[in-house]
Every structure is written in structure tokens, then in C-alpha cells.
Amino acid sequence: MREDAHGSRSGSRAAGAGSLGRWWQRSLVQEAVFGYLLVLPAIVGLLLFDAGPIVSSFYLSFTNADILTPPKWLGLANYTLLFQTDTFYKALRVSATFAFVAVPVSLVISLLLSVILNQNLAGKNVYRLLYYLPAVCSSVAVAMVWVQLYHPQYGILNWLLRLVGLPKLPWLNSTRWALPSVMIIAIWGSLGPQMVVFLAGLQGIPASLYEAAEIDGASRWENFLNITVPLISPSTFFLLVTGLIGAFQAFELSYVATGGGPAYATYTIAFYIFQCAFNFARMGYASAMAYVLAVIVLAITLIQFAVQKRWVYYE
């Protein structure tokens, strides 16, 4: 259809070539000039805040930049130091655990809830709204509330555990439970946004497939595994890719809820980069670490794109 429109336009241009004004009005030149003008702010932004910094931070990662003095070239020193630093490995492990546990778990929960919600149930919109609310709230406020809910002595969660006969947990106060506790907050906040995407995807699965399977005597669970899971996979893939990229940048919840503790148990790589850059004024070192993180995240993304053929169905 667009090709068609293009063709008729060139025709009218030839007809009106007599006057310069009309040529301008009809021509592709006008379109191109406007095209460039309208993207200009975005290009300036791209250069100043995206592409430019991505390039210059690569340079900075080889220097001892600290804002106050002009950066001095250090060669690979930042990188070698990084790979000898214990805190770096700890932070990396925290972030990786966070990403590879919290993201899949929340995807499973939100897919199940979406499938349940996708039936013709009363109050569908109300449920969807309620599930979304946590994602709207400031993570600072959210973290502070959860700190109270997690209180070992007076917190509601331990009270609930006791109620169902389970032992109390130390939650944020122990090295073992602190990270799972932070992950629970993150999962709680991510269900709503994921469900919006899943629900939109579920609408696209033809009902006839389920009807045909029902005639063949398939159970609901079989339908879920054989029809829903494969056909929703493009949405799952999208959420997995963006979710993992996001998870490796997680920092706010630990910053507020635990300060990265106890004993670095919730100290994420983004937290470490932030502190190196702005609390310890080691900006070159922070840039090196950010680059290592970027390479890891990029590798994970590329691997996902490479293996998607095996499990993602596109019609």
C-alpha cells in the first residue's frame, strides 16, 4: 500500500515541476528536511546521553578518572585490578542469582495468573489493576514498607509463618535469606507489568485451537502445556530478554532495604558501580566494571537470541 502511495506522489511531482514552490511542497526534499529536523533533538540526545557516553566510558575505563584531576592513562590496570577484587565477584554473583532466579520465577507466576485471568471472569479489570499497583509505587517507599513486614520479631510475615505452623525466618537480617527476601519484593513488583504483556499475547491465541483440543479430550493442563506455552513464547521471550537486562541493573531495593548487607549478601553489581563512581570517586574503575557488566549482559542477550529458534514459536 505504501509503495502505491509513493508511486502516485512521483507522478504528481513531475506534473508540478514548473514552479519552485510547488516542487518544494511536493518533493522528497521537503520530507527529508522535515525528517531530519524532527529527529534532531533525539539525535542530539543519542550523541550526548547514549552513544557518546558509551564510547567515552570505554576510554575512561583505561584511566584513573576521578572528576577533580584530568584522567591519566592506566592501560589495563583497572581491568586487572577488577578481576582480582573479591567484592566484584561477590557483587556479580548476587546480581546473577537475582537475575536468573527472580526473573524466571516471576515469569512463571505471572503467566499462570494471566492464564487464569484470561477466562471470562467477572472483575477481570479490577484484578489487573490490583496486580499492577505495586509497580507504580516508588521502590524507596516499597522497600521501607517491606522492611517492616520482614521484621523478625514484629513483622507480619513471620506472624503468618507461625500461623501456618512454619518456623520464623530472619529475612533481611541473615546472609542466607536477605537476597531471597529482596527477590520477593522485586517479584511482587513485577507481576503486573508482565501480566499486561502476557494478557495481550493470550488474546492473540485463536480459541479454535482450544476447542479442537477439547474435542480430542485434552485436559486443561495439557492445553496449557501444548497450546498456551508454545504460542505465548514470543511474549515470554520478550519479557525474559528485557527482564534479565533490567535485573542486572537492580540496585534501589538493596540500597534502601539492606544497604547491600548483611556482609554483601545483597550488594549488586550496579550498587558497586554506583558506589565506586560517586562515593569513592573512582570513576575509571567504575567505568571498567560497567563495561564488564555490559559485555556480560550483551552476551546473555545474544545467547537468548541464538537459542530462541529452539523454543520460540513465530507464526
Binding site: 557516553p53 507504580v136 509505587c137 516499597v142 511474549s235 554506583f274 555490559a294
Partner: protein, 289 residues
């Protein structure tokens, strides 16, 4: 024969009803889980201090301590924080909508050399974690003398952003070409086509991006943490952390919960009011993938 069919029908109806009831129970459990912490936050913000330190925990305050809210405003310049947050959220939202929709229209609907390459570069930057940008951007703002002002927190939003441009472009691509051609025949130049035809049609999609931008600015912690030093410039989230860090001996938790409610309530209200458009916007952009 007829009887068995009727009984199959009946058992299926029964089965259906059981599934529906179970579904509602599960969904209800989920909804309680997502909203309970928020309910508790409001409840705790109206409690007396000692009520937070009793076992079994309390759900409802003994009497409503509205003075918790008053205390937040007297101990801290919380009204100032709120005002700063509103200012930054409005500016960021306007900036994001303006710059992203203009660029999206250009990428989706106008032809110019290099268009697709530029767009690809823009998309590629989305895959690079934000941490990489942190230091150089900070150096730029330091050179400009913008540290400890609000400028670094809203000026970038007037210069596009890959995510927003992508989101809106997806929608602009779906508009029929005939519409653009008709506008052109009526003498519209590319900008007036955008202004008169494209912009009014994008309601739900703009609402979606606007809401994202507003939420992003309102809830942002890292930006204010990096760029703001003076208390009178603080926004609500950083004000909250300051409020807690400010008290050495004993944290005023009920006051803090009141602060949390003040931080969360406006954006929650905005979301509830606009969520209709928001959900439609997500579907329209084909974010369904």
C-alpha cells in the same frame, strides 16, 4: 442416550463452575498479596509508635494518628520535596512526549537518507546497561555546572529516548497511508500532518508513554542521589531516605510510613485514573510482540 448426554452436559457445567470458583480464589489470593503491603503502609502511617512493636502485629490502628502526617511536614521540608517532585515529573513527561513523538513520527512516516540506520543505532543502545553511561553523563553535567540543580534530571527527557521513540513509532506505523496522503493533498506539510492528524490519533499510546515517563521521574532515586546535594532541591524518594538516615538514635517509623503514603498516593491515583488508556495503549503499540 439422551440421559447420558444430559449428564455429561451437567457434569461439564459443574466442572466449569468449580474451575471458575478456583480461579477466583487463586486470583483473590494474588490480589491480596499484591495489595496487602500497600494497605499495611497506609494503616501503619496512622498508628502510634508502640503499635509497630507488638506481637501479634496490628492491622488497624487503635486510633487514627493524623499528627504523623503533620510531623513529616514539620520535621522535614516535605512540602518542598513534593513540589520538586511534581515539577520534575511534569517537565519530564512533557519533554518525553514532545521529543519522542516527533522523532517517532519522523522515523515511522518520513523518508530521509540514513533513517533506518539511525533508528537501528538508537535501538542498539537499549541493550547497553545504563551503568555504562553513568560516569560520562555525570562529567558532562559537571562541566556544564549543572550539579546540584534540577537540570540534569529533566533536560535529557527533552532529547528523546530509545524506548519512548520505539513505543510510539510502533503505533504510528499502523496508521493508514491514505490519511497522510489526504493531508498532503489538502496542503499540509509534514509537520502540520503530524500536528493535525497523527498527534490527535495517538491518545492512548501517548497516555501510556506519558504515564511511564511520569512514573519514572516521580519514583527515580539514582538521578537525584547523584545530582542533588541541597536539601531544598530533594525529591520525595530521596527525601524519604534522608528522613530515615537523619535520625541517629531511633527511626520514626510511623512518620516514615506517612512519608511513604505521601510519596505513593499521587502517582497511584494518577495511574488508577489513566489505566484504561494505558492498557489500550500497550495493546495498540503491538507490545504484545
Amino acid at each position: 442416550m439422551g440421559a447420558t448426554r444430559a449428564s455429561i452436559f451437567k457434569s461439564r457445567r459443574l466442572n466449569e463452575r468449580i474451575v471458575h470458583t478456583l480461579s477466583h480464589l487463586l486470583l483473590l489470593l494474588g490480589a491480596v498479596t499484591t495489595t496487602l503491603p500497600l494497605f499495611w503502609m497506609v494503616s501503619a502511617s496512622l498508628m502510634q509508635d508502640w503499635e509497630l512493636a507488638v506481637y501479634p502485629p496490628r492491622w488497624i490502628p487503635e486510633r487514627l494518628m493524623w499528627e504523623n502526617y503533620g510531623r513529616v511536614f514539620t520535621v522535614m521540608p516535605f512540602a518542598r520535596f513534593a513540589l520538586n517532585s511534581v515539577k520534575l515529573a511534569v517537565l519530564s513527561t512533557v519533554g518525553t512526549l514532545l521529543s519522542c513523538s516527533l522523532a517517532a513520527y519522523s522515523f515511522a512516516r518520513l523518508r530521509f537518507p540514513g533513517r533506518d540506520k539511525i533508528f537501528l543505532v538508537l535501538l542498539a543502545t537499549m541493550m547497553i546497561p545504563g551503568a555504562v553511561r553513568l560516569v560520562p553523563v555525570y562529567i558532562i553535567f559537571t562541566r556544564l555546572g549543572w550539579v546540584d540543580t534540577h537540570l540534569p534530571l529533566f533536560v535529557p527527557s527533552f532529547l528523546g529516548g530509545a524506548y519512548g521513540i520505539f513505543l510510539i513509532r510502533q503505533f504510528y506505523l499502523t496508521l493508514p497511508q491514505e490519511l497522510m496522503d489526504a493531508a498532503k493533498i489538502d496542503g499540509c506539510n509534514p509537520f502540520s500532518t503530524y500536528w493535525r492528524i497523527v498527534l490527535p490519533l495517538g491518545g492512548p499510546v501517548h497516555a501510556t508513554l506519558g504515564l511511564f515517563a511520569c512514573m519514572g521521574s516521580w519514583n527515580s532515586l539514582m538521578g537525584p542521589l547523584i545530582y542533588l546535594n541541597s536539601t531544598e532541591l530533594f525529591t520525595l524518594p530521596i527525601g524519604l531516605t534522608y528522613f530515615r538516615g537523619h535520625q541517629w538514635a531511633k527511626v520514626d517509623w510511623t512518620g516514615l510510613m506517612a512519608g511513604c503514603v505521601i510519596t505513593v498516593l499521587p502517582i497511584l491515583a494518577l495511574f488508577v485514573l489513566t489505566q484504561r488508556y494505558f492498557v489500550r495503549g500497550i495493546v495498540l503499540t503491538g507490545l504484545k510482540v
